[in-house]
Amino acid sequence: MSHSIGPSDPLKTPTKPIESLDSMVVRFAGDSGDGMQLAGDRLAGTSALFGNDISTFPDFPAEIRAPKGTLAGVSGFQVHFAARDIHTPGDEVDILVAMNPAALVQNLSFLRPHGTLIVDEDMFDAKNLKLARIEKDPLEERAMDAFNLIRVPLTSLTRDAVAESGVGRKIATRCRNFFALGLVYWLCGRDPKTTLEWIDRKFGDRPDVAKADTLALRAGWNFGETTEAFERSYRVPPADLPPGEYRNITGNQALALGLITASRLSDKSIFYGSYPITPASDILHELARHKRFKVRTFQAEDEIAAITSAIGAAYGGAMGVTASSGPGIALKTEAMGLAIMLELPLLILSIQRGGPSTGLPTKPEQSDLLQVMFGRSGESPLPVLAAGGPTDCFDIVIEAWRIATRLMTPVVVLSDAFIANGAEPWRIPDIARIPPIDIAHPEAPSADDAPFLPYSRNEWLARPWALPGTPGLAHRVGSLEKHHGTGNVSYDPDNHEKMVGLRARKVANAVHLIKDQEVFGPDRGRLLILSWGGTLGVCRQAVEVIGKKGKAVAHTHLRHLHPLPANLGDILGNYERVLVPEMNSGQLAMILKARYLVDIISLNRVRGRPFMVRELVDAIEESLA
């Protein structure tokens, strides 16, 4: 479905005063079963369609559905939409919707002073307070004075509103999220039209449900318009985004689409070997739906089979891809060594989450950088790239495949739970303008050709990718050290040293395939902020905030972690201080210090949560002081 930004068709035109804002942050919070992810997703989609820039952050528990009403069961979804270019889901929430006491307890700290707090007052009964482990009704607390508290008997209003649809009480109650969404739509001046259409599409086979959801949404909107609790509503005008066709996309979707695109560009079909793990599983789910693109997905018995099957597929000439998260990546490291020894192209996607061990399975962290850089036996370098955000996932995976096939090497692409599940508008690329990925396989030799050397090297130091089935090129590859040229097993000391060197130099050659590092802001001066991975947005936003305060600070974002861009050392030398914010204990900082012998100011947070712009602004101001 394609839309154009045009005149809106609101439910009714609101009659109360309208305040125009530059951006808004809305957070829905409720029980895992309350449909908060859906409500958030719809608000994000509607805002994007309206022309805002958006950024989202789903925040859900590791349990499937912890007991209703408990703190463990709270699920949240935050949407940031703005009239300008934004890069983060927002530090502080302007409107918090709390569907029960547990949700309030878990989320109140995000609400800014004087922010709007909408609660379902039907849920603030003794039972639910107890489940949330609070003694007194928090709505009665003094602390509430700091907020614009709106008590709505959401459950009962919803039930009443949907009565005519004829659905049972259970389903009627489940429509609460649409009531809340309708209310938020009114408050933010969002047009419910596309959501109503979506409901019809989605529940086409259950007209009673569709009806109930529609009624709930409308009732919520009307409630905003009618109740005296709201004095005004808000508007965030469209942003000034570059022209083009847009859609919303999460990081994992973008990885899947990027893989399919890379497959097309290189005329290689995908073999995706993977074992389910949060937050990487959605890539499997997405790819499994695209068999028309000759994608073969293989849910292996474990992570080791996932990567080794992909290596087998790569040997056979396919685009071998595997993905996992921390604990699963740990299981793949032995086989990554095999891929390095066999010198086959392979993509390994690492969607980081909180560690160590099973850790915080649904929370983002950047603490697997050192694992993918160094977590293998022997001298086993490989290129490492990291996506800066959801849309970058698309580009980076194409770039990774380009490098993998050019150099005949496995390549790691890093993402994290925040990027994977977060969404932002993606300008749909013109694929005709993406250069193809050329791959050549050696052909059957003629009688007078020299003998085939599977470990001979081209100008990139890559070896030939000879495919089984080609007459005259039969050869054996293996995990023991191999003789340069012939590829036969070799224990010769000189040969080993030579091969270690060749493999390292080959990977280092990737530097010629990547762009020089660019800097946003002054090209020399007091302070450089250096980010990698999912902290891109928040760092850029912080630098912009600082800029507005009249201080010029530079920002550079690393997408290539190994090899590092050729000019990075020079860039670092141009600033008095370098600040590296990371969602770990300083992993990139260590690499930079070792490589460039420059001091680094590390800003480390290991909280299973993205940085706040505010934290960064504070750190920058401190560094400038």
């Binding site: 570059p242 079909s269 080794t308 290596i311 066999l342 089935g469 995990s479």
Partner: protein, 354 residues
């Protein structure tokens, strides 16, 4: 790379495996590599049989891939002039699964040892078999870890004194064929390294099977476990200690084929055949029995209580993983046509900013 065969949806262009114009010979299958097994190792005889059988299979050398793990046995691929992957310990079935899935027209063999397949690699073996991936798995069972110099393996007998069990092993062994049958294997067979004719026949049968073929080969490690299968190899005892099972044939053994095997309830027992009429009571082998029960009973006959079964214990048809995977892809392509990137990008809501 030039292409001569249609490629359907396969991962990359490739040649058909149809019988070639000029039939390859055994020497076409020999590689130029120095063989690095201990002199006298049972692996030599298996290799020799393999080189003899391969030219008869009707698949050109370049359309075959031998995949292995780590172990003495796993050096096998180096000695054949086909394509080959000497992988990492225990993972050959998984490597082979990926390869076969993207290149179903290749013939893929897996060479593994009792440690490689049943110790570290047990899980991959189990899953390749249950999926019925069209790969031929040869397990060289020498009841020892050869390459790491003689520790006991999952098939070593209880009490076996090895470098890691100076007081004797306390682990009950696994029976490779029981594991295979428990994993729903569609083809299960056994042979002996030095029974060249028998082994050759089994290799041919394995090659011809559609789906996973699992073959246990008794193999002598003359350095660390010499004589483990002496009863089965020795000319004077082998006829009493082994029974060759053949589909549709009664189970007869003994040098003079004067003993047979009979079913007594759910137990097997040996009987002496004094005059010919008696052989009517004997159990008749049915490799195609839909349930793996008979195969299980035969597989579990253990020397010295019973003669051990060699031959094809089970060979049934069931859907083949790599075919099914590719069929799903083909079906979608047939039904909906090749995927359109532009449409894929635009799935869901889009909007335009001018």
């Amino acid at each position: 790379m030039t292409t001569s065969a249609p490629t359907k949806t396969h991962a990359c262009t490739s040649r058909s495996t149809a019988a070639p114009a000029v039939k390859p010979s055994a020497t076409d299958f020999a590689s130029d590599q120095e063989i690095r097994w201990c002199p006298g190792c049972g692996d030599f005889s298996i290799l020799a049989q393999m080189k003899k059988v391969l030219p008869e299979i009707g698949v050109r050398p370049e359309n075959m891939v031998f995949v292995s793990g780590i172990g003495c046995s796993s050096r096998f691929p180096y000695y054949l002039n086909t394509y080959g992957v000497h992988g990492i310990h225990g993972r050959a079935p998984a490597i082979a699964t990926g390869l076969k899935t993207v290149r179903p027209e290749l013939q893929v063999w897996v060479i593994t040892g009792d440690g490689d397949a049943l110790s570290i690699g047990g899980n991959h073996l189990m899953h390749a078999l249950r999926r019925n991936v069209d790969i031929k798995i040869l397990l060289f069972n020498n009841r020892i870890y050869g390459l790491t110099k003689g520790q006991y393996s999952p098939t070593s007998l209880p009490g076996h004194i090895t470098r890691s069990t100076p007081q004797g092993s306390v682990d009950a062994p696994l029976h490779p064929l029981s594991i295979a049958l428990g994993s729903e294997a569609s083809f299960v067979a056994r042979s002996v390294d030095t029974h060249t004719a028998h082994l050759g026949g089994i290799l041919r049968r394995a090659a011809a099977h559609r789906g996973s073929a699992f073959v246990e080969i008794y193999q002598n490690c003359n350095i660390y476990n010499d004589g483990a299968f002496e009863y089965a190899k020795n000319q004077s005892t082998r006829n009493d200690c082994l029974v060759e099972v053949e589909h549709g044939q009664p189970l007869l053994f003994g040098a003079k084929r004067d003993r047979g095997i009979r079913l007594d309830g759910l137990r097997l027992e040996t009987v002496a055949i004094t005059d010919d009429s008696k052989s009517e009571d004997l159990l008749v082998h049915d490799e195609r029995a839909p349930d793996p029960i008979l195969a299980m009973m035969l597989a579990r006959m253990r020397y010295p209580a019973m003669p051990e079964a060699i031959g094809v214990l089970r060979a049934v048809e069931r859907p083949v993983f790599d075919e099914l995977v590719n069929e799903q892809v083909d079906a979608e392509l047939r039904h909906d046509g090749a995927g359109d990137l532009e449409a894929l990008f635009r799935a869901g809501d889009t909007w335009t900013i001018e």
